[in-house]
């Protein structure tokens, strides 16, 4: 009996027991649907992240932070780290990282978190922090208008993300915003560049003379030189690194030893010509403006190193870790991004595996029942010239068809659900202003793999019943009532 005839006969036999076949197939469908969605989700998400990262060069980047525990990826937005056991990200360390084999460069990153608002044309918007990094091409942004921060830029130059521009009414005409001046308003405790510290007032009786008067916010003027795409990472203002370092300065009048000596000397000089009795000269106070920098104390927020080729990223990451800092290449970044997808896929995979196991039992049951019902028919087939092998193949194919049909319907259901899931995810991502559409794909290999697997499961489940059918004695089978 030829293969086509075997398949056609098996199909006809399945049609004879419509309800039973349908129920058996249904179990396979549940399993196949779960597995399809699981695979589509994981491969789609991996694909999406991989594409995104390879597009912007992230696969060649290594994120370096002072924290050695990188269970949470630090993208440099958390400011300087205060951590005793951590290694400070210093210029010297940057040089060491740059010397690691395959590393072609290092970008130091620093945030200035002391600013709370950015104002253009009277419209004040919330500002999380100002980002600065070496403009050496390692980190880049998608420009929509103007230019990115360059290595020669000094103070007073920024780029803003498009979402700011949109809110200021420049949607679709970002070019018009380039060259415009904005105000960056600090929080009251800001003491960095542009802040003019007040000379300390003479101490009042009963008052701590270290206490500073209530400060006013500092306003820095900046010119917008470019508008970058806020799609990946919105609400961000970027400035030259040197300026951001200056924003991390702390200007404070302090009484140094020299001041103290000078004060004492002046006091003594005032008392020298004083007659007998207590000498209370006017409190002459000398102070010096001392400028310290957070960067010197705490180091940079993060470094980003670049390797010559993505294949060397893992080795370079390991080498950088040996310097005592935390380092992660995009692979681990992708992994961390995939975590939620992995959890969903484990659940779906579990459901799929269990339902496929149950489905296999269902197939065995269905086929054993079919053999009991069709014992006489098997006898007739044997009398008409069917070999044992033909009977075995017939029932194996019949079981395989249950798996195949379940797989096909399951993949179709899975396809329908991925469309729904894509709509939901698209909406979600658009809400986070990430440009992406139809992350979950259903590649051809996946369809083939799922249908192939369910077919094989069906055939394997059908093996035992098929052997039983083939072993039937034709004489007894014909006599079977």
């Amino acid at each position: 009996m030829g293969l086509l005839d075997l398949i056609l006969t098996a199909l006809r036999n399945l049609r004879r027991q419509k309800l039973r076949s349908a129920l058996t197939i249904f179990a396979v469908v549940i399993g196949a649907t779960s597995v399809t969605i699981m695979l589509a989700l994981v491969t789609g998400a991996k694909d999406f992240f991989f594409k995104q990262f390879s597009a912007n060069g992230t696969l060649q980047q290594i994120a370096i932070s002072s924290q050695t525990d990188l269970s949470k990826f630090d993208d440099g937005n958390n400011g300087g780290n205060n951590c005793d056991s951590c290694i400070k990200l210093t210029d010297a360390l940057a040089a060491k990282v740059a010397a690691v084999p395959h590393v072609t460069g290092v970008a130091r990153r620093l945030g200035a978190g002391a600013f709370e608002a950015i104002t253009y044309g009277g419209q004040k918007l919330r500002l999380n922090q100002i980002e600065g990094y070496d403009a050496n091409g390692i980190l880049s942004n998608t420009l929509l208008a103007g230019r990115d921060i360059s290595a020669t830029d000094q103070d007073g130059v920024i780029t803003v993300t498009s979402d700011y521009a949109d809110k200021w009414g420049f949607k679709g005409k970002y070019g018009d915003l380039v060259g415009k001046s904005v105000d960056l308003t600090s929080r009251t405790w800001y003491q960095g560049v542009g802040f003019t510290p007040a000379t300390p007032a003479p101490p009042q009786p009963g008052q701590n003379n270290q206490q500073q008067p209530q400060q006013q916010p500092t306003v820095l003027k900046a010119t917008i030189v470019g508008v970058t795409d806020g799609g990946d990472h919105g609400e961000t203002v970027r400035a030259p690194l040197s300026w951001v370092i200056a924003m991390n300065e702390q200007q404070m009048y302090q009484m140094t030893d020299a001041d103290r000596k000078l004060n004492e000397a002046e006091q003594q000089a005032a008392c020298r010509n004083h007659g007998p009795g207590p000498c209370n000269p006017p409190a002459t106070q000398h102070y010096t403006l001392v400028v310290t920098n957070f960067v010197d104390q705490n180091g940079y927020s993060a470094f980003t190193a670049k390797v010559d080729d993505p294949v060397h990223a893992a080795a370079a990451t390991a080498a950088i870790k040996r310097l005592g800092v935390g380092a992660a290449d995009a692979q681990s970044l992708i992994q961390s991004q995939l975590r939620i997808f992995n959890i969903i896929s484990y659940v779906l995979g579990g459901i799929g595996a269990i339902s496929l196991a149950v489905a296999a039992i269902g197939v065995i049951n269905t086929m054993v029942m079919a053999i009991l019902e069709r014992t006489r028919e098997i006898g007739v087939l044997r009398a008409c010239g069917a070999t044992r092998a033909t009977i075995r193949r017939l029932f194996t194919i019949e079981a395989g068809l249950l798996g195949f049909l379940g797989g096909v319907i399951g993949v179709s259901c899975g396809y329908g659900l991925t469309i729904v899931a894509n709509i939901i995810i698209n909406r979600q991502l658009t809400g986070q202003s990430i440009k992406a559409s139809n992350i979950i794909g259903l590649p051809l290999w996946l369809i083939a793999a799922v249908v192939g697997t369910t077919t094989v499961i069906g055939m394997l489940a059908g093996l035992y019943p098929a052997f039983r059918a083939a072993r039937l004695n034709p004489v007894e089978a014909l006599r079977y009532e």
Partner: protein
């Protein structure tokens, strides 16, 4: 050349628990091509076993069953299946038709098993159905046919691969006497066209139509001319 069947000292033993049942006990038999042989005997005498061994459905424990130079007693499953498909046509008392398939599909079944090219199957099956007088009922399912018509479909199925031997086990057992006579006439007709006919029957009227009557009792055979 039409097939001759030769049995030498054929024994078939069944084990029923500890008991050993000799269904056939040293049978020697030669059937000439085109012969009409009736096998009779009481129930459980071994007449069906004899027919099944000749038809290649059952295998002898000892002795030889030679058909066309093939020893069925020593043949493999593949050879026996091919033999059943090409040389033998079985007709059963209870018709044994596929209830969900049409008459035509039932007749095509041995052709499918015998891998007759797709294009020729239908024509062959139609010819067989016409030969048994069912040219008008090819699309009917067995449930839509009378008993006599069903047995005609079964005979058409037996004829499909143009066998040289037809083995009919009580072919009229489930039919009224009128239908039984018609079926016997049909089988007799086929025999006259050269097909060897082996019929198992209780019915003396039918046995009398045969060239030879083989009487089996307790696994042993006696013979008389019809």
């Amino acid at each position: 050349m039409p097939t001759a069947v030769e049995l030498h000292n054929v024994t078939r033993v069944y084990k029923m628990g500890d008991e050993i049942l000799k269904a056939l006990d040293g049978i020697n038999l030669a059937i000439k091509p085109g012969e009409f042989v009736a096998i009779t005997g009481p129930s459980g005498s071994g007449k069906s076993t004899l027919a099944n061994i000749i038809g290649g459905l059952d295998v002898a424990n000892s002795g030889s069953v030679m058909v066309d130079g093939l020893d069925l007693a020593a043949a493999h499953d593949k050879e026996l299946s091919r033999y059943r498909n090409h040389t033998i046509g079985f007709v059963f008392q209870s018709f044994n038709l596929q209830p969900t398939a049409t008459a035509l599909e039932n007749v095509m079944m041995p052709l499918v098993l015998g891998r007759l090219p797709r294009g020729q199957r239908r024509a062959r099956a139609e010819a067989c159905l016409k030969a048994v007088g069912l040219g008008e009922r090819m699309k009917h399912k067995p449930t839509e046919l009378s008993g006599g018509q069903r047995q005609r479909v079964a005979i058409a199925r037996a004829l499909a691969n143009q066998p040289s031997i037809i083995i009919a086990d009580e072919p009229t057992g489930n039919l009224d006497s009128e239908r039984g006579k018609e079926i016997m006439a049909l089988l007799h007709d086929l025999n006259k066209q050269g097909i060897t006919l082996i019929i198992i029957t209780h019915d003396q009227e039918i046995a009398k139509m045969a060239d030879r009557i083989l009487y089996i009792k307790d696994g042993r055979m006696t013979e008389r001319r019809g």
